[in-house]
């Protein structure tokens, strides 16, 4: 098994005359926390959609979890996890019902579901909340649960789209600890965020501007390269030069 989980070369997406994603290339290694940053309209969402098998690239090549992004979108979907701030869980279903639903979507057997659910609930200290309606849980808990469910089928890579928006600082950190833990266990994390301090938690960070990847390195080396104090400064230096809006 290779240690490169995501590998893309010259990945491009055009909508008519508009090049939303312009020949991006990078590799993401197993167990890495890969921060995917960019200004609004830089092409982040479009790029992420291609990597998740939701849309096919116009040109270029790449693999995600060993499957071709040009041809095997459906297979990719089975081997990745996805969590976004907007759609996470069904509020009118209980914790267990949500787990069973998503386990079913990813084709886990009844026994696997039971085992995996017990394991995740145990790790979250949620076992007593198994039959609680998700809607009645605090936001922070929901987000943690949402992440756990995104990993229920043990995907090789989990895509997180602004997972911590609007969450208090304490819960935000608890969430990142979960991410650390998952990465430690070998799951690759691909994450977008608007909080620049969170960019510092990543193993490596890429910054997109006008559809292109303008910078890609560890936070420490990026700060060195741009002689900046923080990732916020790095980001702003790069994004200020952006030509296009959303």
């Amino acid at each position: 098994m290779t240690d490169i989980v995501i590998s893309v070369r010259d990945l491009t997406k055009r909508f008519g005359d508009f090049t939303a994603v312009d020949r991006i290339s990078f590799d993401v290694l197993r167990g890495e926390i890969f921060g995917f940053l960019g200004a609004n309209g830089a092409g982040k969402t479009t790029a992420m959609r291609m990597l998740c098998g939701l849309s096919y690239p116009t040109s270029g090549s790449g693999t995600v979890a060993g499957y071709d992004v040009m041809r095997e979108g459906e297979k990719i979907k089975h081997h990745i996890g996805y969590m976004s701030q907007r759609f996470s869980l069904y509020n009118d279903l209980t914790v267990w019902e949500n787990m069973r639903l998503f386990a079913g979507i990813y084709g886990l057997t009844k026994r696997e579901t039971e085992e995996r659910a017990a394991e995740l609930l145990d790790r979250l200290n949620f076992s007593s909340e198994r039959n609680t309606l998700v809607g009645s849980l605090p936001l922070g808990w929901k987000q943690k649960l949402s992440f756990a469910i995104a990993t229920i089928h043990r995907p090789e890579v989990v895509f997180l789209d602004e997972p911590t928006g609007g969450v208090d600082p304490v819960t935000r950190r608890q969430f990142w600890e979960m991410i650390y833990e998952a990465a430690e266990a070998g799951t690759t994390i691909f994450v977008t965020t608007h909080y620049m301090d969170e960019a510092e938690y990543c193993s490596r960070v890429s910054i997109m501007v006008d559809g292109q990847v303008r910078a890609l390195d560890t936070p420490a080396r990026l700060k060195q390269q741009f002689s900046a104090e923080s990732m916020d400064e790095v980001f702003r230096t790069l994004a200020r030069g952006a030509q296009r809006g959303e």
């Binding site: 960019g38 200004a39 609004n40 928006g165 609007g166 304490v170 950190r173 702003r236």
Partner: protein
């Protein structure tokens, strides 16, 4: 008299206390920030002050007028930008602005000098539909609309949420410009790093105000010693550091973890204890508003 005065204001939805006996005052011409996560009660507070909701308990005045008895007077004096995108997406930039001008019985020309620094940036796109603008541009248009009647008090509910770091920074520059023209601004944000752009801030969580002060004053209130610690494996370090003696708290904080030291903490002993950790470093760190927020939340 202060521009905004709030005394023991409370509001319940069903059984949930969205706002629990909140008090503060905002001086004229002040840029006052409400800092806190979702569910802190920020939006409820704005809606109460903008006279959209009736308070269950407590009193408040805006520009000297009571929010209950004089709510009509308040409505012509405040500019309000709700948290959601509050423009007509099917109308053009100019049509939106014209409509809001008409709403307050003014013309764009009368207020042009006030909105110009902001509106000029989007004026080249004045025939574009508001729904087709970028996040930053929508925000500028919404602010122009909120300013069109030259309000004395401006309420901005999470204007920078979901907007990228560059647009956020530009937005705060615009607010600084408005403050210079004497407008009182009450603004909320979930981003702790924006707090330093305010004159004074209130840290809010779950319907309560945890503390009110200048950003510097808030940070000064952090009375514990703070260290930044790092290692090759940051996650393992977190676990180890938490178990060490004299560590009150340890949490991820950007490139380093922040370690809140208790009385019994000794830097040398800590280093010795974790001597097997590869690439261990420990330096003294300056507390930030976020450190204070975490501390107040955990209390």
């Amino acid at each position: 008299m202060a521009a905004i005065e709030v005394h023991n204001l409370s509001k319940c939805y069903g059984g949930v206390r969205a706002l629990d006996s909140v008090s503060f005052a905002v001086e004229r011409g002040e840029l006052f920030g409400l800092i806190g996560p979702d569910g802190a009660g920020k939006t409820t507070l704005f809606r109460l002050l903008a006279t959209l909701l009736n308070a269950d308990e407590g009193v408040a005045t805006v520009d000297g007028f009571d929010i209950k008895s004089d709510y009509r007077a308040i409505r012509s004096r405040v500019g309000y930008m709700p948290g959601r995108f509050s423009l007509y997406p099917d109308l053009s930039v100019e049509e939106n602005l014209r409509f809001f001008a008409a709403l307050f019985g003014v013309t764009i020309e009368e207020s042009y000098d006030l909105i110009a620094p902001i509106y000029k940036q989007i004026e080249p796109f004045r025939t574009r539909r508001a729904g087709k603008l970028s996040g930053g541009m929508k925000q500028k248009l919404a602010l122009s609309c909120a300013l069109i009647h030259r309000p004395s008090v401006l309420f901005l509910d999470e204007p920078t949420t979901g907007v990228d770091a560059v647009s956020r920074s530009e937005f705060w520059d615009m607010l600084a410009g408005l403050k210079k023209r004497g407008i009182t601004i009450l603004v909320s944000t979930p981003y702790m790093d924006e707090a330093s752009r305010c004159d004074r801030i209130a840290l809010c969580n779950e319907g309560h105000i945890l503390g009110i002060d200048t950003p510097e004053g808030i940070v000064r209130g952090f009375d514990k010693k703070l260290y930044g610690i790092g290692a090759k494996n940051m996650y393992a370090l977190l676990e180890r550091a938490r178990r060490a003696d004299g560590v009150e708290d340890c949490y991820p904080f950007g490139e380093k973890h922040h370690l809140v030291a208790d009385e019994g903490f000794d830097k040398g002993r800590f280093k010795a204890l974790l001597s097997d950790v590869e690439g261990l470093e420990i330096v003294e760190a300056e507390p930030t508003i976020e450190d204070m927020f975490i501390k107040l939340m955990k209390r």
